[in-house]
């Protein structure tokens, strides 16, 4: 249904309810995962995500800004967290060959080990809370939705000044 402008009935019942539920669920999801990670593995969710992205990459290394894009945070937050991980010895900061201003963040052996401890625990939690209980059709549907949303977000980010506010 197109029909863009409804009047000041800003609380169209469905939109608001679904959206509120969505926010509630995603927040609680992240909260539980974060807690598990901190209690059992001594790292935050953000730090865990960094380790995962590194482990998934060729050479187990990435540039700072790719890391910032991948996770979705400000660059300064990545600097902060990578320093923290470096202090813990889970990550190594090296110069980037191709680009002298770049930093090549690399997973250390200790980093791999820590991740191998944490990942099964977290993945099983993710399955338990998020994936196990939904069937294939729902999963396929979810995947479609994620793709659509992702495209929408790309488009939305591309047109910042667009149209009459």
């Amino acid at each position: 249904m197109g029909a863009g402008d409804f009047e000041s009935r800003w609380l169209a019942p469905d939109v608001n309810a679904v959206w509120a539920r969505f926010l509630n669920v995603t927040h609680r999801l992240e909260h539980q995962i974060d807690r598990r990670l901190q209690d059992h593995h001594g790292i935050t969710h953000t730090q865990y995500e960094i380790l995962v992205r590194l482990a998934d990459s060729d050479e187990r290394a990435m540039r700072m800004s790719d890391l910032a894009d991948s996770i979705v945070t400000a660059k300064s937050a990545v600097t902060y967290q990578v320093n923290r991980l470096s202090e813990m010895g889970l990550v190594e900061r090296n110069k980037c060959d191709r680009d002298n201003r770049g930093i090549w963040v690399k997973l250390t052996a200790a980093g791999v080990e820590r991740l191998e401890q944490a990942a099964p625990c977290i993945l099983s939690l993710v399955r338990e809370l998020f994936l196990d209980a939904i069937n294939c059709d729902q999963a396929a549907e979810l995947d479609k939705l994620l793709e659509i949303w992702s495209d929408n977000l790309d488009a939305g980010a591309a047109e910042p000044p667009a149209e009459g506010r």
Copy 2:
């Protein structure tokens, strides 16, 4: 960068990928909304959520702890944000009749007004990014998923010490 995985279906292969995508999408979604709110309406997403919950409630008022449950944050964060909103004159802190230790947070006229300015803008963004592009079937499917996840989260939160594995 996704690959077409049709028959491997859903199970083992890419829990990680779907989960990563989910996180990425939700973070970007919140980020864009937050930005719009701050740029155009001078409040953060958290503050906006507080105003919305209040507006949805009878008497346009709520207890602090209900607010904390509704949004998903620590109680101290609610204290902080409600103070901030109170300084802005969008919200009023009163004693609670029934319970002397309670605080009755109430939307002011200015709060209603501010919300009525912001809400259409935000809801249309939510529709644009999140809802418009999915059809009724998908929306229904999503709603089911949200319910399942919500139940899972309730169950997961209920059993803190037990660990199957």
